[in-house]
């Protein structure tokens, strides 16, 4: 595990990922800095009866939603940047280097998966942490549940990694892994409206299929929403999106381990 983790860090530095995440964080920090001035302008001009809270929601919810979007963007970049790591290390001529060592296949893949999650998760956490601290300083506010927001987004990343790693392992292609992840993302986003969709569909079979897909597929959009609500101090109606998505990731990764163990290289 230590060897694989160190290698993942070296690979991250070599692929200039630090520059990408650093650059994005600097741009976000600059926007946070500008947002301090924008708020001042609105405060001066909004002298009428309009209540900003009704437009923007409570400031705490607004801040949580903004941090949530920043985290989502960073997680999206991390998933995009790591989709090729597993297929590349199992290319012919390279797989032999790793698989000839005295480790079980399961331990090897689990180490790689966890190393990617830990290393890129830390990178996301550091960048998002910098934005959160800057936001708190500029706006002189803090979000109580910011840590929870971070944790849930790292779990969202774990769910997406389980898809890219499994599909990457099966297809040996980063492109296919990303396409699969994107398809699942679109599907889960649409299925987050399953109640309304169910009302529109007349066929029982179609309604059951929609419901089934909703429960089977991960619900990362709803996880993000849940995290923002919790961080803003709003009530969380159901924890189903969180645990069922983690269950999905666990089941998918177990399938990946099972396939990897049986494959010839």
């Amino acid at each position: 595990m230590r060897g694989i983790t160190r290698e993942t860090v070296v690979e991250l530095v070599d692929r200039k990922m630090l520059w990408l995440f650093g650059g994005l964080t600097l741009i976000t920090l600059f926007i946070v800095y500008l947002s301090g001035n924008i708020r001042g302008e609105i405060a001066i001009e909004s002298s009428g009866p309009a209540d900003l809270d009704t437009i923007l929601g409570t400031p705490r919810y607004f801040a949580a939603a903004v941090y949530g979007r920043v985290l989502w963007l960073l997680v999206f970049l991390a998933v995009l940047g790591t989709a090729g790591l597993v297929p590349r290390m199992l290319e012919r001529g390279r797989a032999e280097y790793y698989l000839s060592k005295p480790n079980s296949r399961a331990a090897f893949l689990a180490s790689r998966f966890l190393a990617i999650w830990i290393v890129y998760g830390l990178l996301v956490a550091v960048c998002a942490g910098a934005v959160a601290v800057a936001g708190a300083i500029v706006h002189e506010t803090s979000i109580g549940g910011v840590v929870f927001l971070f944790v849930v987004h790292l779990l969202i990343m774990l769910v997406w990694l389980s898809i890219t790693v499994t599909v990457g392992l099966l297809s040996r292609s980063a492109t296919v892994a990303l396409m699969a992840a994107f398809s699942v993302w679109v599907a889960q986003f649409l299925l987050s409206f399953h109640d309304r969709m169910g009302g529109l569909v007349t066929s029982d079979v179609a309604r059951t299929t929609v419901k089934l897909l909703y429960y089977v597929l991960p619900k990362t959009s709803q996880m993000a929403e849940l995290a923002v609500n919790f961080a803003a101090g709003r009530p969380v109606e159901t924890w189903l999106p969180l645990w069922s998505s983690l269950l999905f990731a666990g089941a998918l990764f177990s399938a990946a381990l099972w396939i990897f163990k049986r494959r010839d290289y």
Partner: protein
């Protein structure tokens, strides 16, 4: 206990309905003794790499049994004291040569102290010391092979599997790698060597197996493969003498003023030939069994198996 024991191993690749199945290994039985350099020869597609990959647990044999240091390939511990340099390695390009060897050490379960101690020493051994901090992506093919040999040696393996280790290496590098192999043999290590370069195998291997179309067609020492059992080269001052070999003994293959080559029906009959020469007062300098190169022996074995002429 043998270092490597292979019993009736078969590997069939299923390629789909249209193409049918490919039998890559067909009832292969071999054993490699501890401390010997064992050469595995065979034309392209003979199944050499498949056999090594199966022994290292990278693919599963369809049937049969194999043991590495007494453990089956499915047990990761069978690779605890095994090193491997693959054919055409494509090592992680983001690592330096030193990083690559260090990672191999960590993956093999070495402590940080051991990793540090072994890595630099091994890079020096394979002549890559001064390129240790250069990224692998900048290495030539030969440098890749050298650094690959260093990573294969990092866990101080008892068995070393080398698949075309000198492929792309310059002549000096080949000699250096050969010296490393001899050093390993002196240290009592077992080396399983896959190579197309027959001269190289002939120079270092103790025993050789020839694999053709997935089957072992010959297992012998290099000596046995290269010596013509009933043929002899006699170095003698023959001059203009006409020497005939009685047909019941065999026949003369060639003759010059400095010697002759004979093929006998029975190797014991060489004494009668020597007696005949001595009776004619011909001065004999040496009598030795006729030899062929391993290459020639290999081609003969493969062409016999395939039924095609050389």
């Amino acid at each position: 206990m043998n270092a490597i024991e292979i019993q009736d191993v078969t590997k069939i690749f299923h390629t789909g309905l249209k193409n049918g199945n490919i039998v890559a290994l067909d009832s292969v039985t071999l054993s490699v003794r501890p401390g010997e350099i064992f050469g595995l020869l065979g034309p392209n597609g003979a199944g050499k790499t498949t056999l090594v990959k199966g022994l290292l647990g990278m693919l599963k044999f369809t049937s049969g049994e194999a043991l590495i240091n007494g453990r089956p390939p499915s047990d990761p511990l069978s690779r605890r004291k095994a090193g491997f340099l693959q054919e055409n390695p494509r090592f992680p390009e983001h690592l330096t040569g030193l990083g690559l060897v260090e990672l191999a050490g960590r993956l093999s379960g070495l402590s940080e102290a051991e990793v540090g101690e072994h890595s630099v020493k091994l890079l020096d051994l394979v002549g890559m010391g001064k390129w240790a901090d250069t990224k692998v992506r900048k290495y030539s093919k030969g440098m890749n092979q050298r650094v690959g040999l260093a990573q294969a040696l990092v866990s101080d393996p008892e068995i070393l599997f080398l698949d075309e280790p000198t492929d792309g290496v310059d002549p000096t590098g080949k000699v250096e790698i050969r010296q490393v192999l001899m050093l390993l043999r002196d240290q009592g290590k077992t080396v399983f060597l896959n190579s197309h370069l027959l001269a190289e195998v002939e120079a270092v291997a103790d025993r050789v197996a020839i694999l053709s179309r997935g089957k072992v067609i010959r297992v012998a020492t290099v000596e046995e493969l290269t010596v013509r059992e009933c043929q002899f080269e006699i170095e003698a001052e023959i001059g203009n003498e006409r020497i005939e070999i009685p047909p019941e003994l065999g026949k003369r293959l060639s003759i010059t003023s400095r010697g002759m080559a004979v093929a006998l029906n029975n190797p014991e009959d060489i004494n009668q030939v020597i007696d005949q020469l001595r009776m004619r007062k011909i001065n004999i300098r040496s009598v030795r069994p006729a030899r062929i190169s391993l290459e020639q022996s290999f081609f003969e074995a493969v062409s016999q198996d395939s039924g095609e002429p050389l």
